[in-house]
Structure formats: C-alpha cells, structure tokens
C-alpha cells in the first residue's frame, strides 16, 4: 500500500473521531454546567485549555463566553479542531482514497460535513444543541460502522483503526481532564454531593455509564471511574483498550518493531498508576504524560509508514 494512501486513511479516521469526540466534550460540559450550582462557578474556559487552543481563541475573540466558545469549537474554520474543520479535513482525506473506502461511506462523510456546516447555529444555541451534537456523534458512528462492515480489511483498515484509536485515547484523556480542572477539587466543601453527578456525566459523555454499572457494580466513584476509563481492557473508549487496538493493528504491519516498543511502553505507563492515589494535580500531570506518549506513538508511525517530506 502506498504511504500516501495509508496516511490519508489514518487521518480520515482521526478527523472523524475528533469531530465525534469534540461533540462529546461539548455535551459533557453543557450537562455539567446545567447540573452544578451557580456557586461552583464552572465556566466554559477550561474546554479551550483542554484542547490547547487558548492562544488561537484569543486571536479571534475578545469575550470568553458560551456563545463565542461554542462558535469556536463547532463552526469556526480558523480553528483546525472545530467540528466543521475536522469534518472538512476528513472529507479532503477521503476524497483522495475514494477507491479504497466504500462509496456509501464517502457519501456519508459528505452528508455529515454538509449537515454540520449548514446547521451550526443550532449547535451554538442551547435549544437544539443536544440534537445537533447527537447527529454528529451518530453520523461518525455510522461511518465507523459502515467501514467495519464493508471496507476490505487489509492493512488499509489497520491504518484506519490506528488513527481512530489514537484519536479516541487522546480525547478520552481530554474529557477526563475536564474534571481535573482545578476549580473542581475533590475536597471542595459543598460540592461533595455533586461529585457523583460529575463523574456520571463523564461516563455518559463517553457512553460508558451503562457499561460501568455492569462491570464495576458499585456507586460511581472518582477512582473507579478513572480506573474504568484509563485501564479497562474491554471498554472501547478506555485508554488501555485503545492502545491494545493499536497494538493489534501493528501486529499486521511490516517493520513494526519500534512502533510496538513505543505502544507497549505506553500501555505499561497507563497500567502502572493507582487511580485511588491520584490527586487532582497528579491526575493532570499523569494525563499530560499519556498525551505525550500518544504523540510519540503517532510520530513513530508517521516516520515508519508515511511520506516523509
């Protein structure tokens, strides 16, 4: 398989997953703000910090308010991480590999991009936001499902799965990070009753609540949720699961020694931590470490398999 083609497949999958997870991230934040008392003083600012795009945001906006942040996260084509930008990039990548992906998938990607782009207002205003974001998530899931069900499962599919899972692992850490923002110290007096709700909303944003209840079977506790989202092998949006998927894809690829060494190191890192003992500050640092690990894995995959300029 041509390096360029592998690279395009990989990025197409990443961008679709990114659009889906950005929608999930906005959903969890919206719910959180609705659930918590005004005194908790939860704002929208952390969401741009989590995405690492504060600088870019301030270049284009003066006010940090819900409307601006949502416009930036959903519709703004100056923001390469916005939902519309992600879907546009997914489509540009898909366009060059039309002979590799099923035609229906190409059409779905187009439809999803056009729908996301033409309805941004309903995503920005609160009233229809939920259904706008659900449509993004559902559209991305449909594409993932179509590819699983109809794409030829050769190494091209391995690059697709690697892109999707690295992006997913990255966004799972970012969604957890929303919770580790310092304004929600777990010792915060008066917020303890809400802790349960907060972590429940994280699980729900990752469609993990039901699965969590089945597997963990205790009340929703911070440490258990972290363990579930970081270290669970069988939950598809858990960090460890995603790294195992990447590892299994690498097993099908040639010249995989160095890539496998890096992914195994990252697996070891994520399993090494005891979530009970992770205070907020440590959690934030630990998440940074995981994100750095993901970047290392991406770089080594790019160096090994993609076109080098």
């Amino acid at each position: 398989m041509l390096s360029r083609v592998a690279e395009n497949i990989y990025w197409m999958a990443r961008y679709i997953e990114r659009a889906e997870n950005t929608a999930r991230l906005i959903t969890v934040t919206t719910n959180l703000i609705l659930d918590l008392p005004k005194s908790a003083n939860v704002g929208w600012e952390p969401i741009i910090e989590i995405m690492g795009s504060e600088k870019l945001f301030h270049e284009h906006y003066t006010e940090i308010d819900e409307r601006n942040i949502l416009r930036f996260m959903i519709a703004d084509q100056n923001n390469p991480g916005s939902i519309v930008s992600s879907l546009q990039m997914a489509r540009e990548n898909a366009r060059t590999i039309r002979d590799i992906i099923p035609r229906e998938t190409w059409e779905r990607i187009n439809d999803l991009f056009l729908a996301a782009k033409s309805n941004t207002q309903s995503g920005i205003a609160r009233k229809n936001r939920h259904s706008y974001l659900q449509n993004i998530i559902l559209g991305a899931q449909t594409i993932t499902g179509q590819l699983a069900g109809t794409m030829y499962h050769d190494i091209g599919y391995d690059f697709l799965r690697m892109g999707r899972n690295l992006e997913r692992a990255d966004m799972t850490t970012r969604i957890i990070d929303v919770r580790s923002a310092d304004l929600l110290e777990e010792e915060h007096e008066g917020l303890t009753p809400y802790e349960n709700i907060q972590w429940m909303s994280v699980l729900k944003s990752l469609t993990g609540y039901q699965m969590y209840r089945r597997i963990i079977q205790v009340r929703v506790r911070r440490a258990d949720v972290l363990k579930f989202l970081l270290q669970e092998k069988k939950f598809p949006r858990a960090f460890y699961h995603a790294t195992c998927e990447v590892e299994s894809c690498l097993n099908n690829l040639p010249r995989n020694t160095e890539c496998k060494r890096q992914i195994n190191a990252l697996q070891k890192t994520v399993l090494s931590v005891n979530p009970e003992k992770l205070k907020q500050d440590d959690l934030h640092k630990f998440i940074d470490k995981l994100q750095l690990g993901l970047m290392t894995v991406h770089n080594i995959i790019a160096d090994t398999y993609f076109l080098r300029q």
Binding site: L2, D99, E107, L114
Partner: protein
Amino acid sequence: MAIRWGSYKVKGIYDELIRAAGKPREAAKPLCDYLRALKDREIEEYKAAAELAIHVMGITFTVYTEEEGSIDRAWPFDIIPRIIPKSEWDQIERGLKQRVQALNLFIDDLYHDQKIIKDKVFPGELLKDSVNFRPQCVGVSPPDNIWAHICGSDLVRDDKGTVYVLEDNLRVPSGVSYMLENRMVMKRVFPDLFEDYSILPVDDYPSQLYDMLASLSPREIAQPEVVVLSPGIYNSAYFEHSYLAQQMGAELVEGRDLYVDEKDVVYMRTVEGLSRVDVIYRRIDDLFLDPEVFHPDSVLGVPGLLRAWKAGNVALANAPGAGVADDKVVYAFVPEIIKYYLDQDPMIPNVPTYKCINKDERDYVIENIDKLVVKPANESGGYGMLIGPQASNKERDKFKRLVKKDARNYIAQPMLTLSTAPTLVGNRVEPRHLDLRPFILSGKDATNVTMGGLTRVALRKGSTVVNSSQGGGSKDTWIVDMADH
C-alpha cells in the same frame, strides 16, 4: 407518442441515424422503431434511470462539491446512442492503425536520423519552432520504437458523409473512461435493445491497456509493477485516472509517491518501504514530468524520472516528446508522412488543410479567408482561431496580416458541416452536431482500436463545440454487426 421521425430535420446535413425525413438508416431502424413507440412518461423514466445509474456508478459527484465549482463536474449524457455499422467501422479501424503506425515511425525518425527532413518531405524549420519537440529526447529508443502508445484521434463527418481525422492527440488523451461508463449506463437502462442488436463490446479496453503497458516493462517478470501517474484530485481528468487504475488493478500514484535513486531506478513509497516501478502510465504533461529536466518548479513530477527512462529502467507511456506529432502544422503533413513511411495512401483523409508555409496555399488562404477556418499551430481549445464566414472584415484583415507574418504558425481548413444525430431535448428529438474520439493502443505485440470510441455531442442548438467545458455532452457509440441481423 413523443418522438416523430417525420418532423426530424436532416436537410443539408448528414445525420448519423436518419437518412431522410421519416427514414432511418438501416442500422438505426430497430432503435428508431423502439424510440417511436415510447410514451412521454417512458422517456422520462429512461432519462431518470440513466441519471440514477450515472449517480450510482459515481460518474458524477456534482451534488457534493457545489461550493468547490470545477471539481467533479457532471458531464451530460444523452440516452440515444450513435450507431455505426461494423462494415464501415472496419475500414475506419484499419485507417486509424495505419495512421498511428506512421506517426510512431515519424516521431522515432525525428528523434534519430530525421530522414524525412533530409529527404525534404517534411520541412526542418517546422521542427525548430515546435513547442512539443523535446531536444532532451533526441537519441532515446523506447521499446520497439513506439512513442505514442495511447492515441486519441478525433473523427468528424461532413455533409456528404465522408469521415475525416480532425486531429490526433498524442500527449495525454482523455475520455476513454466515459466511453466505458456510457456503455454500462446503457446496458442498465436499455437491456432489451441489447437483445435486438449485436453491439460489439467495448469493455476489454482496460485489460488491453494493462497488457500493452505490461508489455513495455524493462524487467522480464511475471507481474511487472504498472502505475498510473496523476497530477492529483484537482485535475479535471482525475476521475478517469482513478477509474483506469482501478479497472487495471494498478496503483494510482502522484509525483510525491515516486522516488528515483542514484542508480536511476524508480520506486514508489509504500508502507512496506520502497517498491520498484516498471511502467508508468503518466497523465501529466511532459513539461511537468521531471523538474530536473523541464519546469524546475514542478511539484507534480518526479525528479530524475527522465534519467530513469533514458537508462531504460522504467517505461513511460506515452513517451516524453511524443506530442511533437500533434502540432496542427504537422497534422497537415500526415498524408505525406503516411506515404513516406508506409508507401500507402491514407485510408482516412485529413480535413483538407492549407499549409500557409507554402506560398501557393498561403495565397489561396488570403484570397479566400472569408470561406475558411484559420487555426494557429500550437493553441488548443479553439483559442486564437478565425472562423472566416462569421468574422468581421477587421478580423479577417488581422488574420491576413498574421498569416503573412508568421506563415509557419498557421493552417486553414474549409468550414465543415459536421454530421448530427438525434438527441433528446426535453421529450423530443432534435439534431445535434457530434464527433467521435476512438482510442488506439500500440504495444509490442499488438495494435488495438476501441470498438467505436467516445461520441461527444454539442448540446447547444447549432453549436459544433463538443468540449465538456463548453456545453458538450456524450453518447454511447454502438458498432453493430448487421451480418448477424
């Protein structure tokens, strides 16, 4: 009843299907009877079925890229086929093979001994000014001395019914994918007509193309690596590049996918590492092929590709420099070229062409400019052309001066009345002008001509411009064997 052949106008023109008002040509009779029996509603249904088939097969993608304009524009398709009896086609096929054989000998001669110039059959000064002659290719001998492996020659028919070659495309001729797709659409829409007729198949083209390309491989191996080199998704013919690659099972590559090492061997970059390439069906113009030799700032090409080709480590189809023979002034010499190399008379005539480089002919052109079409040698797409009968006196005077000043660069031809074929306009049929582009494959072992080719039709009333960018569309072309009938 929607279609009435009695009121279809054919006076003063040659129509491909209708001989005289209400009288179809013999080969078109079953088709015309079939169409006459259709009700308005059925015509609508067939049109809708064809559009659906085009959409489903992915020939058109316009709906998805409205905001990006020119990309993936749909090319209109007319559901009434153009029919040519096999007996007539056999003649044309022989004529095309003769022509391409002579052109290949001519190109090879120009890059070697230039005997035709020494023998004063072809004026050497024409070569000096040719924009498509590549001095970098002098002395190179491609496999079997074939330079133009894929040729698309445009055929037209005049009001008498005579078929002429209008031009030869020897660089990167396109359109063959539409020929293939048009047939697929027709089979889906009119399966019953295919039972009434014995229509010769066209769909072996991709395998013939693959066999021809594979035969050029410098390495004697069972499965040489054949790739299609495209400028990328923004090229207007990208659909065809991708389609042909898919149909041949070849990789579709861009310049940046390829790499030439210091031993002048071409590789493509794959996830397995570098992988050797034997044959490149290139759909990039000469001047963008290799920045080391041609345009230094070309990002579409591959540095070192010409080195690799000259070293014989990779085959390029068509060979760089093959375009020297599709200059409009060279065209005027094709009858002499055929005579010189093959000692034969051309089986398909050229459109009568006055070469302004010859004094007698130049004088005739200046005298009769109001009756002629004057064309510059190196422009394409109708640029810089004079249509004498429609031009003002001022324009005619301007061209008289141009022809005197730069005789080498001009040819003139009489105005042809192109043939027509019935074309659906709403639910009625009207005559529309058309041409035909067959494709000729020349390889080591065989020369193959497509069974028919791509019929392009000018959809605007009275227009003779068949280009897709200017209101042209296409039709399926049926070569029918009447002996089986």
